[in-house]
Symmetry: C2
Subunit: 218 residues, 2 copies
Amino acid sequence: MTHTTPAQPPSDRTRVRRIPELAHYDRATLHAIVDAAYLCHVAFADDKGTHCIPTACWREGEYLYIHSTNGGRLVKQLLSGTQACVTLTHLDGLVLARSAFNTGMNFRSAMVYGVFEPVADKRAALEALMDKIVPGRQAEVRPGNDKEFAATTVLRISLAEAACKVRSGGPNDDEVDMARPVWAGTLPLVLQAAPAVVDPQCRVAAPDYVQQWSGRTL
Amino acid sequence: MTHTTPAQPPSDRTRVRRIPELAHYDRATLHAIVDAAYLCHVAFADDKGTHCIPTACWREGEYLYIHSTNGGRLVKQLLSGTQACVTLTHLDGLVLARSAFNTGMNFRSAMVYGVFEPVADKRAALEALMDKIVPGRQAEVRPGNDKEFAATTVLRISLAEAACKVRSGGPNDDEVDMARPVWAGTLPLVLQAAPAVVDPQCRVAAPDYVQQWSGRTL
């Protein structure tokens, strides 16, 4: 799918009002934030209240996908047509300004509003999840059987009504604070791959994607 | 405050139903998950729908704190007494099982239900936030002035109605899959401190907390 970059938010509720200069409404920024995320937070309301559930996610085209067990609260409520808000957030560092109130964080976040719909081709969708986790591994593992697929629901939400907010770079200090004798800058944070831990019962040599895991920055 | 460890969830909606053996309802687990998080996701509903907002957070005793600008949607709605759900999630790694459906992630998450209340002593509360970001830095930066404090609202939510879910360790494979010739184990992920970036206009030597930042695992 090809989209032109909209300069405007797709709806009133996706218009970033707090520090609007950090807002991004283009597809490339949204796709990059979703693709870098292993998990998202799904907010929705039911008769018990408003909930916020973390769950694995992936993207195909203009949809964000999740999956869960049949009959759980998440699946039951989302399939009933309830409006949901999906948020994905990457923390990129602490921003140490010269004043307390200009201190903050660097981050990339995306909010998606909409209604989830069930995905009929669960096999293709869950293979895309595996491809996100480890490209190529789907061909090595035991694939899902009928019972496993029958117990699982795959859902997707359109990325049409979305907004991103990105803060990067150093502190924005007030001019009056620039002479203050305090260190200023950023303390970056990265999600980093640590050494793989082999299952004690595994007798198979580590493939390339395991050997090359540690030290990667995601 | 001292609490005995409850073996049971504090409410019906905090009872973990999906893989209940991963549930934790004790204070120590909850506090550790909140204290390790720089940000949380706050879900709430208003007349525009259900929202999920990422924001900085910190803990004092049995409360989770957030802050935001006066007059924003978040502050206005939360101060109206709307029920909220706050979720904090740490991703600890990918779990590579021998089958597609046993593949998953290691994580620590906490969900908190309740109603936010305004915090009168904003100065003390925001100093606690600074202490979380960089202990000791509050004494170095320009403190907030009256105008800055007046434009900011600090809110807190009780940690009483909360549940945690923690998955750690290696894959749990089905017995029938154990002989499959595929590597099995975990690919850990850590939030790691990367080299500090000094502000180009900073003429102050890096203090210990900046020099010792890089390489830390958070």
